[in-house]
C-alpha cells in the first residue's frame, strides 16, 4: 500500500482494508491493529481509528481480546458500493469531457465486446 502523506492516513487505511475485503484478500480476520501498524509504519492509534470507523459503518466487528473480523455479508455490500462509486466516477469523468449518457452507454457496451 502506498500512503499519500498529504492526505489523512486513517482514511487511506479504511479504503485499503475495504479494497482488500472486496477483492477477497481478507476473508475473516482483519490484521490486528499492531500488525497493520507495523506493516505500514504508522501509529497504531491511526489504524485503530480506521477500524473504529469501519465498525461504525458495519463493515467489520471487533471484540476486546478477540480481534477484528469481517462482518457477515459485508463483502458483497462493499463490492456493490465500490463498483457503484467507480461507475459514478467513470460517468462523471466522461460527462466532463462532453459525452452524453447515451454515448457513455455505447462506450461501455464496446468495452464489453472487447473483453
Amino acid at each position: 500500500m502506498k500512503i499519500d502523506k498529504s492526505k489523512p492516513i486513517w482514511r487511506q487505511i479504511v479504503r485499503e482494508i475495504k479494497e482488500r475485503i472486496s477483492r477477497g484478500e481478507i476473508k475473516d480476520d482483519v490484521p490486528t491493529v499492531r500488525a497493520l501498524a507495523e506493516e505500514l509504519g504508522v501509529n497504531p492509534n491511526t489504524v485503530a481509528r480506521a477500524y473504529r470507523e469501519m465498525e461504525g459503518e458495519g463493515v467489520v466487528e471487533s471484540w476486546v481480546g478477540k480481534g477484528t473480523w469481517v462482518k457477515k455479508g459485508a463483502r458483497n455490500t462493499l463490492k456493490e458500493k465500490m463498483v457503484e462509486e467507480e461507475v459514478e466516477k467513470f460517468v462523471e469523468n466522461l460527462s466532463s469531457m462532453g459525452l452524453s449518457k447515451k454515448e457513455i452507454k455505447k462506450l461501455a457496451r464496446k468495452i464489453d465486446d472487447k473483453n
Partner: protein, 229 residues
C-alpha cells in the same frame, strides 16, 4: 498527563522557550518538529527535569519533574554516550541495573531487530549503531513517558526507516512518546499529533491527520512551507 502552563526558559538574554502552554494526554505519540535552535531540546529537558523553568510550570500527573518522576520517564539524549571503553553488552547490563522497570524481553527484541553487535566495544561501533545502542538503552524500559531527542539526527537516510520501525515496535499504546526531530518525512507517520516549534514558540499544533486535511499537505510540507519558509 503532562500539563505545561506559561512555560518560559531564558538563558541570559535568550529566550529558549517563550511562554508555552500545552497539554499532552497519556498514551499519545507526539512529534515535536522544528529547525535547530527552536527550543525542542530545551522543552524535553524541562519535561525531564534536567533543567528548571525560568517561570511557568510543568506538571506530570500532578507532580513537578524531579527525581521521583525520572524513574517513570526515559530520555534519549541527542549527544553521544561517553562509555566508549565498554563493550555494548557490558554497557547494557550495567545500565539496566539502574532501572527497576527494565524489560529484558524488550531489550532482546530490540537488539535482534537492530542487529546490534553487542560483543563489540562502543568505540568500534558506527554512528548509526551507537544510535541504535542508545535506543536499546532508552526503549528497553517500561517507563510511562519516553522523551526522544532527535533520534534521526546523524542517521543516514537508508537507515532511518529501520530506526523508526524499532521505535514503533517498542511503543505501547498506553505510553506517552515525545519525539523531537527536524527530519520530518521519515517519522511523520508515527506522530498522532504534531507540534511545530520556531524560536521558542509553538506555531502549529494539531492532530496530524486533521492538519493533513486542513492544509492538504504532509507534515514535512507544512514544516518546509509554513514554518521554515
Amino acid at each position: 498527563m503532562i500539563k505545561i502552563k506559561n512555560l518560559v526558559k531564558r538563558y541570559n538574554e535568550v529566550y529558549a522557550i517563550n511562554n508555552i502552554s500545552l497539554d499532552i494526554e497519556d498514551g499519545s505519540f507526539v512529534g515535536l518538529v522544528g529547525p535547530n535552535g527552536s527550543g525542542k531540546t530545551t522543552l524535553l529537558k524541562l519535561i525531564f527535569g534536567y533543567c528548571r523553568p525560568t517561570s511557568g510550570e510543568i506538571k506530570i500527573d500532578g507532580s513537578s519533574p524531579g527525581v521521583a518522576l525520572k524513574s517513570k520517564t526515559a530520555f534519549y539524549p541527542e549527544y553521544d554516550s561517553t562509555y566508549h571503553w565498554m563493550k555494548a553488552r557490558d554497557l547494557i547490563n550495567w545500565y539496566s541495573g539502574f532501572f527497576s522497570d527494565w524489560n529484558k524481553e524488550k531489550e532482546k527484541n530490540l537488539i535482534d531487530f537492530f542487529e546490534l553487535p553487542t560483543h563489540r566495544y562502543v568505540a568500534h561501533l558506527s554512528k548509526g549503531l551507537r544510535a541504535k545502542l542508545k535506543l536499546v538503552l532508552t526503549l528497553s524500559r517500561d517507563a510511562k513517558t519516553f522523551l526522544l531527542d532527535e533520534p534521526l539526527s546523524g542517521i543516514d537516510p537508508a537507515s532511518r526507516a529501520n530506526i523508526t520501525s524499532g521505535i514503533l515496535k517498542a511503543y505501547r499504546e498506553r505510553q506517552t512518546f515525545i519525539f523531537s526531530t527536524h527530519i520530518v518525512a521519515d517519522a511523520e507517520m508515527l506522530f498522532e499529533r504534531t507540534i511545530f516549534m520556531k524560536e521558542g514558540n509553538i506555531i502549529i499544533d494539531g492532530e496530524s491527520d486533521t492538519l493533513r486535511e486542513e492544509y492538504g499537505k504532509s507534515m514535512e510540507q507544512i514544516f518546509k512551507e509554513d514554518i521554515y519558509g
